[in-house]
């Protein structure tokens, strides 16, 4: 009985534990609403510099940079926001509008199956998946306890089937959660911030030029070498650029 009370109190404590420090965006939001984008950017950046990671913050900051016509930073913060909510409609509409304004053409052609898988993969947030992991685990444990304690063979059989089902769900949810967390913390993509960036075949300007890209383009990062980064274009072409010319998502 005492143990039950303890578990219940922990469950009710979860929301309290989730209450982290709050940050105020009202000054930045009202500056944006007054179309004072310069000030809005400063206010949002104040919060960003405190190390806050938040969807609304990144999305609003992306919008502010878009309005300031800084397409590189706009794309960077939109992509940062997309890490939180990759399927957010408003965000994706804004990214599509931004991609129409940047110089380099990027084609995103997803097949029906890819789109469907993406939708399933990103259907729940990382934290909701975490809660699913926890609950399916607890349910599995409860089923195991029932199996241990129960004497009815019929009842045991039903519980065994349910246990298998939940084990499968637990496995899928856990794998998805692990992959999503790995994606979330991966530093493997970046956005070009400089207006024009020349890529070389090696980590120095002495190497031959391989391609020229422009601000706002999303590239993937292969590896670092001092101040130079080996990037890869969506087309598969690779080249070395100066690390300061891009922002890591």
């Amino acid at each position: 009985m005492k143990k039950n009370i303890f578990i219940l109190s922990i469950v009710f404590l979860i929301p309290l534990l989730l209450c982290a420090k709050e940050y105020d965006l009202s000054a930045a939001n009202s500056a944006y609403q007054e179309q004072n984008y310069q000030q809005a950017e400063e206010e949002y950046m104040k919060v960003v510099s405190e190390g806050v990671k938040n969807f609304e913050l990144f999305y609003n900051l992306g919008n502010t940079y878009f309005k300031l016509n800084d397409l590189g930073n706009a794309r960077l913060y939109y992509e940062k926001a997309a890490k939180f909510e990759p399927l957010n409609t408003e965000l994706n509409e804004n990214i599509a509008m931004l991609m129409a304004s940047i110089k380099d053409k990027e084609e995103v052609n997803r097949s029906f199956v890819e789109t469907l898988l993406r939708k399933i993969y990103y259907a729940f947030s990382i934290n909701l998946l975490g809660v699913f992991v926890l609950f399916t685990f607890i349910i599995m444990m409860v089923f195991i306890i029932i199996l241990i304690m129960s004497k009815s063979i019929m009842f045991k059989r039903i519980v065994k089937i349910l246990l298998v089902v939940f084990a499968v769900i637990f496995f899928m949810v856990t794998v998805t959660e692990v992959m999503r967390i790995r994606d979330f913390y991966a530093d493997d993509s970046a956005v070009i911030l400089d207006e024009t960036v020349i890529a070389y075949s090696g980590p120095s300007e002495d190497f031959p030029q391989v391609f020229t890209i422009h601000e706002g383009l999303k590239v993937s990062i292969e590896r670092f070498d001092n101040d130079w980064v080996l990037i890869k274009l969506p087309s598969g072409n690779g080249g070395w650029v100066i690390a300061t010319s891009l922002g890591i998502i």
Binding site: L17, N63, E177
Partner: protein, 585 residues
Amino acid sequence: MVNAVYFADNITVTSYVDKSTVSLNELLNLTVEIKSDEQISAEPEIPQLTGFQIVGQSSSSSTSIEIINNEMFRSVTQSFTYSLRPLKTGSFTIPPIYTKYKNSTYRSKTINVTVVEENSNITQPRQQPQKGNDNSSNNVQIFLQATPNKSEVFVGEPFTIKYVLYSNKGLVGLNAEKMPEFAGFVKEETFQTKNITHTLEVINGIRYYAYRISNYTLFPTNANTFTLDKMELLCAYEVPAKSFFDFGTTKRVYIHSNTTSIKVKPLPVTGQPINFSGAVGKFDIKSELSSSQVKTGESVTLTLTISGSGNIRMFDPPTLPVIPNIDTFPPEESDELYQPDNISGKKVIKYILIPEEPGTYNLPAISFTYFDPGSETYKTITTRSLSLIVEKGKITPGSLSYIRPQDIDIQGLDINFIITKNSITGYTLVISQVWFWILIVLSLLSIIAILIIKKEREKLLQDKAYYRARISNKQLQKDLNKVQAALKEDDISGFFVAADNALKNFIANKCNISASASTIQDLTFELQKNELSAQEIADIIEFLKITDSARFGGIEFSHEELEEKYSELNTILQNLSKTKFRKKR
């Protein structure tokens, strides 16, 4: 004739001779024509003519009625013809001839006449038809005059060109051989002769029959210097009989118009407004609403009138600015051009507006830009803005605004607005929280706990001895409570029964034998199996014997003695509980 005073305003006096060169053996006819609206009594005053002698005089009068544009023009011409005989050769000037009527004096122009020696050939007309107008030798002068009213125009600026055939002989036939095409222009024929009619005109003192052939209004479409196409006519005139046997012949000549060229200048590029529609000329704009108050779904007509002179047919009407919630239809456009040259006129554009929402609308001013060739600048004229009051009308199925669903008016695209959530929290992963792992560990521990509990229970179920050993202390506590209760009440027999039970139960539980069925001998036997000293066993036996006898014997015990027995029991029990018993399975 009293009225003549009031109507005889348009009096013209013309004098002409029948030929400009006359030989000494010929007579020169000098005619003075007095043309007026009404019959008047006036006679020219012939001055003294040097070199000529008046040998005869005749007069005639004719009335002509002309209908132009449904208006009747009546004119009366009185001709006074004087036959003059030249007196000597040389150049002479017939001075102006004055005519007095009422209080005004009218004068004709001077005429130059050359008198030459007698030459019989001059009067002989040539036998062959001739081309061109060099018929002076046989005294037949025919020429076709093309007269544009401007020699330099801008692209789009209209001008007129008139073709008049002049002849000093009456023509009996006229045939158009080639009409001008005017490449590079949009042409409008504003007049074309249908029958041979003529007016009389005097050029350089010679009277000509003037035949108006055609009038054109031309609108240049591109800049260049154009030499206008020539018009070619075939004219026929009669050569009168010279003798009794000569019946006279009809002669035909081809006549070309003179060469005219027009310079068309391009419109200036500098200062050309974006909404310039191509209008060139001088215009005025006016807008009008058919009614200033309507109900929703009803239509109202906005009439825009552009009037003036210029290329009215050749420009596009100004576009109506988009008025939110007012539906417009493509405008209906009509042009009206005024006679005689079709240059001035008006363009009437009717926009049908259907307001869809009630309210007061300000119809924006419509501006129109044209090029003024006079000042060579672009001018923009604007209508005044009009207001329209729209009341809510009945929308019935079938009314115009009801049945037409329309596309949403998209004014522009912008990014989605920011999320106006003023308080945010930093991102924390659920799986990095302590409680997450606490719950995982707890649920794992609960499995282990359950397993342990289950094992315990199984042990208990299988091992009664173990159970009894475990419960012996509980039993003992219960039994000792009974003993204590009896001690308090000084119940001697109760005390010994309880003490006996307590000791026997304790030993029975420890040794896993039945307590009720055990005699002192049984107990001694069991106790001897375990590691107990002989003294201890002897003490237990002694104690049991006392209790047995006290239970039944009725021996009196004082309270102190009972307490002594109780402590004796406790000592025995303490000793027993320290001892390890072998478990009997």
